[in-house]
């Protein structure tokens, strides 16, 4: 295997990579991240694999370019032309379009856009723009995105080292190892204002500096890929679409703080991410980019992967380290910081996937350039997974400071079915719900805290008016009750008691004084818990209580769920005048709770009804009402 030692070796890989990225023949790259595969990308890939022996095109795969709603997507390049991205593809459509593609044509059918942005430009020659297709920046979803962490995802083959190098990869590490002082790198990171993308937002440079200055014969760097916040999947996408960026980031970090060993702690629920990363590490090792004397220098560095065991608390740094050591993932108090005594009581720097993927880009462009992006307190860009009741659900990377409104209605395309925005939930179970009337706030670490939420790892759940905020709070509480490790009482018992009260309220058994009791328990849980899981556990309930108190009151005082979600507080009935006796609901009811016959208006038998809502969903005549 060719070792990469000198710059000319990198150049050779770069040349090869560019030949692969901008092929002289027709090239088809299937976007095959987990979500793409689940939408049918594998079927398309398998079909194309069967055709590739014709020699009329080359086949490749790539990660996800972000617009998950329109998957499966396929990138098609014909010689001399800019790549076209096709969306909502099926095997049948691929079969049909392939006939044109192999002739060097790119029909507009199912075309989403061309990758004509500077980000995807061919460095060697200008490519012509195929006519009739929308341009990258014409698409509202991409118009205002600025990609740094996601710079390669959906464009390069994540398994191909030369494609990563062709995009400038590993040149930064080369420059760093050949002549840069480790202090200078930390200076750059400090100047950049980069803050941890995993949730806390701690200044990355300061963390590195403390770890570098800490005494210890051995130090570690860790990549936290235990992306536990429900609704967040940016780390999965980076690992599946651009694993080498994380490897390079870790190596730069290792050099800067003086560590020779790195760990990636990744969720077991992400099998494809684990596999992609595993292969990338192997490839990097085979080419001498990991291991002893990287680029012929004195610096040696290697990475191990640890798979998580399905415990949310292991996203907490001390719990994660305990888990790597082979123990139960319980956090410890942090009177001694992990940068001084972390993994195996050695100085340890832990950052999440997105932060590590940012590192090579930050060092490459220089701290002050990076600083120019974003807001004063939150530099750079942030990747968000915008999901829930939103037209363009997917992964976006925007400059910090964009307003929530712009993200939801501009980038995200608004709420489906012309319904109203009710709230945006950010920060996962540690965050809060931001009501629609606060959607003007700019998104950055500090602004989100001001409105009672937090950045978290970047999951944004968009909720329309049919969402019950009490149910949302109860959902997060039940999540935390399950995931609290149980080590400290305030978290273990506090979350449990809060959930008990919310359970009662959503069952219609709320009592006067419940809200005050909730606030009291929430405060104690917040003040006294050991780690961030417990300290932030009451956020979802407190933020919904602040902004949606009336909804809680309706549940308690009127025994009504205004959004029609809480099963115990709603009933389904069929309006006989509207019922056409079509029999659809009768057939669909899993509880056999509907009676009626031909030309006889149907009726729901209340005693049998499980309130699953299937009849409501299937009725084509709006005859089923929810009260």
């Amino acid at each position: 295997m060719d070792k990469i030692i000198k710059k000319k070796d990198l150049d050779a890989f770069k040349e090869k990579g560019n030949r692969l990225l901008f092929a002289d023949s027709v090239k088809i790259a299937v976007q095959a991240g987990t979500c793409g595969i689940a939408s049918g990308a594998q079927e398309i890939f398998d079909f194309l694999s069967g055709q590739v022996s014709s020699g009329k095109f080359v086949l490749s795969r790539t990660g996800c370019i972000g617009l998950c709603k329109r998957e499966p997507m396929v990138n098609v390049s014909v010689p001399g032309s800019v790549t076209v991205v096709y969306a909502d593809m099926t095997k049948k459509l691929t079969e049909e379009l392939l006939k044109s593609w192999i002739k060097g044509e790119t029909p507009v059918k199912n075309s989403l856009m061309t990758l004509d942005d500077a980000l995807y430009a061919n460095p060697l020659k200008d490519l012509k723009l195929p006519s009739g297709h929308a341009k990258y920046r014409d698409i509202p979803f991409y118009k205002k995105q600025e990609k740094i962490a996601l710079r390669n995802s959906g464009f390069i083959n994540p398994h191909n080292l030369s494609e990563y190098i062709a995009r400038g990869g590993f040149y930064t590490l080369f420059d760093v190892l050949n002549g840069q002082d480790s202090d200078k790198i930390i200076d750059e990171i400090e100047t950049s204002g980069l803050r941890g993308r995993g949730g806390g937002g701690f200044p990355t440079g300061r963390k590195w500096r403390s770890c570098r200055n800490a005494k210890g014969d051995k130090k570690y760097v860790i990549c936290n890929a235990d992306e536990g916040d429900p609704g967040a999947y940016m780390d999965r996408t980076v690992l599946e679409g651009d694993p080498f960026s994380v490897i390079e980031g870790l190596a730069i970090g290792g050099y800067a703080i003086g560590a020779n060993e790195g760990y990636v702690y990744v969720r077991a629920e992400y099998p494809l991410a684990v596999e992609t990363l595993k292969q990338a590490i192997e490839t990097a090792r085979n080419h001498g980019l990991l291991g002893k004397n990287i680029f012929g220098t004195d610096f040696s560095f290697d990475i191990r992967i640890n798979r998580g065991g399905g415990a949310f608390v292991c996203g907490e740094s001390t719990a994660l380290m305990a888990s790597i050591e082979g123990n139960v993932g319980e956090p410890r108090t942090k009177h001694i910081h992990t940068v001084e005594s972390g993994l195996w009581e050695k100085p340890t720097t832990l950052n999440n996937v997105e932060t590590w993927a940012n590192v090579p880009a930050v060092v490459n462009m220089g701290g002050s350039e990076f600083r120019k992006i974003g807001t004063k307190g939150s530099a750079g860009t942030k990747v968000f997974s915008v999901v829930g009741d939103i037209v363009n659900s997917g992964l976006v990377e925007v400059p910090m400071g964009m307003t929530l409104k712009e993200l939801v209605f501009g980038v995200g395309g608004g709420i489906p079915g012309n319904r109203k925005l009710k709230a945006v939930q950010s920060g996962g179970p540690s965050g809060g719900c931001i009501p629609a009337d606060k959607a003007d706030i700019p998104i950055d670490f500090d602004e989100l805290v001001k409105v009672g939420s937090m950045m978290g790892s970047g999951g944004l759940i968009i909720m329309d008016e049919d969402t019950c905020m009490v149910d949302v709070a109860r959902y997060f509480l039940s999540f935390l009750v399950d995931e609290s490790c149980g080590k400290c009482t305030p978290c273990r018992e506090g979350t449990y008691q809060l959930k008990q009260i919310l359970d009662r309220i959503t069952r219609g058994e709320g009592k006067p004084g419940d809200l005050e009791l909730i606030e009291e328990i929430a405060q104690v849980t917040k003040d006294c818990s050991l780690c961030a899981l417990g300290k932030s556990a009451p956020n979802p309930i407190l933020s919904t209580l602040t902004y949606f108190r009336d909804e809680y009151k309706a549940h308690i005082e009127k025994k009504k769920c205004p959004a029609g979600v809480c099963k115990a507080l709603i009933t389904y009935t069929i309006i006989p005048e509207a019922c056409t006796a079509c029999g659809k609901c009768l057939k669909s009811c899993p509880a056999s709770a509907i009676e009626g016959g031909k030309k006889v208006a149907h009726r729901i038998i209340p005693e049998k009804c499980t309130k699953c809502g299937i009849c409501f969903d299937v009725c084509a005549f709006d005859a089923v009402k929810k009260v």
């Binding site: 987990t34 979500c35 689940a38 709603k69 536990g228 992400y270 798979r307 888990s323 899993p590 699953c612």
Partner: protein, 156 residues
């Protein structure tokens, strides 16, 4: 004494890992995957191999959701109950599976083919509601789609 197939599988797994305490979780993960659960005997042997007290192996095995001391089905259905799936009525899938497979959450079907459990976010939120069967993800699920998928696995 002749070794059973399970014993042999266990031997192969144990040999692959370095006999150090921090191998514990990785070994247990592989045992769980290959043998579908952690038997008392397996736990003892893993603990011995990686040089930790049995009590540590037991506490790890009962702490992490990924481990089970009781057998799971050949096909493990993980229904996502992340926020997006919750809002898209992911809970309904759990109920459907219960009646479809005639078993409860966490209890394998009589033929040992299936067991289902709830997991927190598979990270496929734009495909909500979603689930994963032995590492393969399925999205935009409906009752009908679910039925079809189960049928496919039964026919395998």
């Amino acid at each position: 004494m002749t070794k059973t197939g399970t014993d042999k599988k266990l031997d192969t797994i144990l040999k692959k890992y370095e006999p150090r305490p921090d191998s514990l979780i990785a070994v247990l993960q592989e045992v769980q995957e290959k043998l579908h659960y952690l038997s008392e005997d397996a736990l003892k042997r893993v603990a011995e191999r990686v040089k930790v007290p049995l009590v540590q192996a037991y506490s790890v095995a009962t702490f992490y959701n990924a481990f089970s001391l009781k057998p799971k089905g050949k096909y493990i259905i993980q229904v996502c109950l992340g926020t997006a799936c919750h809002l898209q009525n992911g809970n309904q899938l759990i109920e459907e599976l219960g009646s479809l497979l005639d078993t409860e959450m966490g209890v394998p079907t009589k033929d040992g083919l299936f067991s289902f459990e709830a997991v927190r976010c598979l990270g496929c939120c734009s495909l909500a509601p979603a689930m994963m069967i032995n590492g393969k993800t399925y999205g935009n699920l409906t009752a009908d789609k679910l039925k079809k998928i189960i049928k496919e696995y039964k026919a395998k």
